[in-house]
Symmetry: C2
Subunit: 218 residues, 2 copies
């Protein structure tokens, strides 16, 4: 069991944090302040294995860090977390650089020849950024069995093979079928999964639900 | 049966043109010159129902036009086809704005807040641009049964509902299952399917084949 720091107390952070605690890990939920209402509610709900703190406290606590902040605020949150607290650690990046300022559907703030995951990797070169799970609704990230008997696809991108293997083990503990986790390669392949969001938001609008995913068939 | 003009004599144009002839349609393959080798080979292969000509001759011939040119050359090819020859017609756009100038994987020449399909629609406002099939290898476009018993997903985008229904009928004649053709909405939703290419090229590299597709599961 690991000590995990979660940056971001929104729906994604709460969903992932709750599932990690259910699986026996210890979690500190990090936010801008150490008295964030959602983080305190998370602690009240989960008890002993849950803590709330600042981004820096969550990052310091975690052996593994999950970036569950909104993409627009991710670099800022990581800056507040502090380089020393992120040093040499795995950063699991599930965020997307969505820009809702022009309404729905959102566009991306970075894409095509760069990605948010690459920006994070460049900002924290000693950290091992692993991009994954950003292609679906939070509920499915941690409970793939909610649809299609768990038989659908997750992607993983990152420069460090050991780090990707560690994250794959967490995904398998969530219920992901090993063969359905497609390793796309290095962190630049995050461009693919982040740009897929442009399709995801439109499929969501067409199906009128976020509870779907893609399955690669061949 | 329809008279169909195909712009582009590459693999995509040849694959779609051959299938349309197999289904009983008449096809003119259009290219820059009226003596394009691939177009002449197409005519030699298919006989009576096949013709070769310039982009303008193919567009003039077609009641429906398929844009199968490389995305970088699409606007130029349509310009050579001529506005009068495209007027009020359905343009089925299967192209992608891929830029290979920096090597593999390609980036997109237009994305995020615009798309190639929208550029085409703006250039030819009386035409009915329908974006479809651009999310997969040409072989699957016209023979979805090649994988997973034909059970996977195609998308369709366009401003004109009747035009989309006409194109859907062609897709069903190719073997597509009606419920697997997801109507994403107006032509701006082409941003989603074009940007998905950034994921497609990386999945292709990871699987080492282009013979795959996505199936939406929920």
């Amino acid at each position: 069991m690991s000590k995990i720091g979660i940056l971001g107390t929104g729906n994604v952070g709460d969903t992932i944090g709750s599932r990690l605690i259910e699986l026996g890990h210890s979690v500190t939920m990090g936010s801008r302040t150490n008295n964030n209402e959602k983080a305190l509610a998370f602690v009240a709900k989960h008890g002993d294995k849950a803590l709330a703190g600042t981004f820096a406290e969550a990052a310091s606590f975690g052996e593994i860090i999950f970036n569950c902040t909104k993409g627009l605020g991710s670099l800022d949150a990581l800056h507040m977390a502090g380089e020393n607290n992120l040093k040499d650690k795995i950063i699991v990046d599930v965020s997307n650089p969505l820009d809702f300022s022009q309404g729905m559907p959102p566009s991306l703030t970075v894409s095509n020849t760069d990605s948010l995951a690459e920006e994070i990797q460049r900002a924290y070169p000693s950290s091992k950024v692993v991009k994954t799970l950003n292609t679906m609704w939070a509920g499915l990230m941690v409970n793939p069995n909610l649809i299609n008997n768990g038989d659908h696809t997750a992607f993983i991108s990152g420069n460090d093979t050991d780090a990707k293997n560690t994250v794959k083990e967490i995904l398998v503990s969530f219920g992901w079928i090993d063969k359905n986790i497609i390793d796309l390669g290095d962190i630049t392949t995050s461009r693919g999964t982040e740009m897929y969001l442009a399709l995801w938001v439109r499929v969501m609008a067409s199906l009128n639900t976020g509870s779907f995913n893609i399955k690669i068939v061949s």
